[in-house]
Symmetry: C2
Subunit: 439 residues, 2 copies
């Protein structure tokens, strides 16, 4: 049970019946003349399921929602989707009615080209805020991508590249496992490096979603079960990461399940059964792998820090403490300097809104794959652990901050980065570019 194999270089087309590709169509309108496509990173991608798939989604809780998010929220209700069109370079956010019309137009063009009902097409965008999509380029991009799919030359890695913005690395993952003797796969691709502090909710609770993640599977699962499984997986992965504490207007996770693995359908009722749990654990793994990739590739990040809070009175308290520490500018700058500054950590614990008792707070550091915790602070006061020993842990590229509130049994984990001069330099922006409105 709960066993699965990670596939090498697997992405969104690892499961049966999924095709994906990416093309360059100059969404940032960088070039004009011929030949501008040569060597350019693709900026528009398409995922196609060869048959209609069950669909589920989680979207940003930011009340300023981009047009593609609005479209997805509307259409995901149907629980069915066959095509996802995604672009980078432009978030199609703060673009008003025209932006919404453009998002629907993107879907319509893709639907026509691929001969699927337009209601079965979802869209996602990431990039600049407040600028209209260059629809001529987008349409030409969609046609080129569709041609690649029809000519059987799609390249899923090009899809993963197409959605990258400030990302420096490809983010893909795929696993394989058995359900009732059938081979089932889950594949995924995502992007995100800045404006990362997702707090996504299911569309039913949605007010409005720059991290994008697309998950494909050939498992057979009904829409209610897929949505429930996705919510659980996202809550423990994408919703537990932060790079800069800024929750984007475009955060989107979409999962498609086309059933071609022919396992007995997982339903809401059977999600707790061994088969359902096998699916859930594989989905959890894929989402957490991708979420960690986003943090590791965070803008200017040199450290991957896990913040583990235990002993809280409630889950809400545990998460509040983990978020406060993971987002503290002073804590993150100290990590950048390799400084085991638990004074700043306990300060963040104290202002987190959680119930805490200073005289019960323990704070320690550990390295990955080690159970040994070096405690810097016990019961709110310093321990005798040597400063050098603490520095040695924090000098690692990856380490864990352990916070025990010693008040109850609730725990929470957040994944964060340091805050570096490189981050600031990157985000100062190139103000000579009038369209540099990041989002």
């Amino acid at each position: 049970m709960k066993k699965f194999t990670k596939l090498e270089n697997g992405g969104v087309s690892a499961p049966k019946g999924f095709l994906a590709t990416g093309v360059f169509c100059d969404i940032k309108r960088l070039g004009t003349g011929k030949g501008s496509e040569k060597g350019q990173k693709p900026d528009l991608g398409i995922i196609l399921s060869v048959i209609p798939a069950t669909a589920a989604g989680m979207f940003t809780s930011n009340k300023v929602a981009a047009a593609p998010v609005r479209l997805c929220v509307e259409r995901i209700k149907n629980g069915v989707c066959q095509v996802i069109v995604a672009n980078s370079g432009n978030a199609n956010a703060c673009t008003g009615r025209q932006g919404l019309a453009d998002a629907y137009k993107m879907a319509e063009i893709a639907a026509k080209s691929l001969r699927v009902p337009k209601e079965h097409v979802l869209v996602a965008s990431t990039g600049r805020i407040g600028i209209r999509l260059p629809m001529k380029n987008v349409i030409s991009g969609i046609h080129n991508a569709v041609s690649q799919i029809y000519e059987s030359s799609p390249d899923p890695t090009e899809f993963a590249r197409a959605i990258m913005t400030s990302d420096t690395r490809l983010k893909q993952c795929a696993v394989e496992f058995k359900l009732c003797g059938k081979n089932v796969r889950i594949g995924a691709a995502c992007k995100g490096a800045g404006m990362i502090h997702p707090k996504m909710v299911s569309p039913s609770r949605l007010l409005h979603a720059t991290m994008l993640a697309f998950i494909t599977t050939d498992a057979s699962i009904d829409p209610v079960a897929l949505q429930a499984a996705l919510e659980l997986a996202v809550e423990q992965s994408f919703n537990r990461i932060t790079v800069d504490g800024d929750t984007s207007t475009n955060d989107t996770v979409i999962a498609l399940a086309n059933g071609l693995a022919e396992n007995p359908e997982i339903t809401a009722d059977s999600l707790q059964d061994p088969n359902g749990q096998q699916f859930q654990s594989a989905l959890n793994f894929v989402c957490l792998e991708l979420a960690k990739m986003i943090v590791m590739d965070g803008e200017g990040a040199s450290k991957f820090v896990t913040v583990k809070v235990s002993g809280a009175e409630t889950d809400t308290d545990a998460l509040a403490v983990a978020r406060a520490v993971a987002n503290s500018v002073l804590v993150k700058t100290s990590w950048n300097g390799g400084d085991p500054n638990w004074g700043r950590i306990i300060d963040a614990v104290g202002y987190s809104n959680a119930t805490v008792d200073e005289q019960k707070i323990d704070i320690g550091y550990s390295i990955p794959n080690s159970r040994k915790v070096l405690w810097a602070c016990k019961k709110g006061t310093p321990t005798k652990t040597s400063f050098k020993a603490l520095c040695d842990v924090v000098a690692n590229k990856e380490f864990t901050v352990q916070i025990n509130l010693n008040l109850g049994n609730s725990s929470a984990t957040m994944y964060s980065t340091d805050l570096s001069e490189e981050y600031v330099d990157f985000n100062k922006g190139t103000i000579t570019d009038p369209a540099n409105l990041g989002g």
Copy 2:
């Protein structure tokens, strides 16, 4: 009415009957040998009112409260105080029972030396967290400071210097005004440059306070009225500033009023009368001046940015939007680059928890002392204002971001800085120093 004169170079001893000074006693234990005091910034200061004064205070809402804050919260209840002892270099936070005993000892030593009841002494500390105060040095410092006061050589500017930590500039202010024909003065000194995002509450609501501010006045005012006036003034000044979004364990504002101006006593009832309002407006002015000084001297700060939110449904919503924008890492880095990136601003508005309607949000920029607002975004979409014109505003050392939610009549203002590479570099810390646990 509401007229007052700002005094040149005035500080805490501008009002009648207040003496203040500062001495170096090596709280950071930098040096050892003789002569280490030569040229060193003072690190311990004393304010003395020659007669017992009415006292009021506001302290951090951080649940991890430093020992001196606990002492103040306990003693301020009496509404009377004659002496304040303050030190920099050590926050006396996370120091357990011993730390609390040390804070009471500081007060006791000062009380004995100055021959006042120990209950009439308040203490305040700022600096490193998690390290015991070097009591021998502290005691010797108190004796030296008292000697200066007795030998009539106190220097209030040395007091203001004594409380500085990463501050690069002195922060003092004093005003004079008339109450019923009597000359009344308010003087003040404060410190703060990092870990600045005060959210102070009155002791009655207190869970537990690194900005410190000390306000003295020779006005005659009862303790209830002084507390009420202070709360109002702090709420619109110190509680509206942010440098890095980290709320300290030591934030403290103390006001002392010794009545030597001999005006008719201001009571809770008469606070709304013209005399009370004159006092209130002068107090508001002094607090806001000091609060702005803190922001202008923010660690690594190159910009002073006022965030004005209007048209919110409630005051809570207005403040939530102002705080989200003023604390956004992405917004603050864009300011550092002189980039009028309203996309990041509207993103922060959207995740602020306030009720907002994207299609009603206006965002603009203006320069100090100008009523002209350059609108970058109207009704959630870009205006035709030229990018260059917006850049010209944001290129200023001081500018205002104007956000109109167009939903109601509530408004709020926050004062913030940019986030610079210098800030990160400064806060990476000097990890070779085992005691570098900032707070």
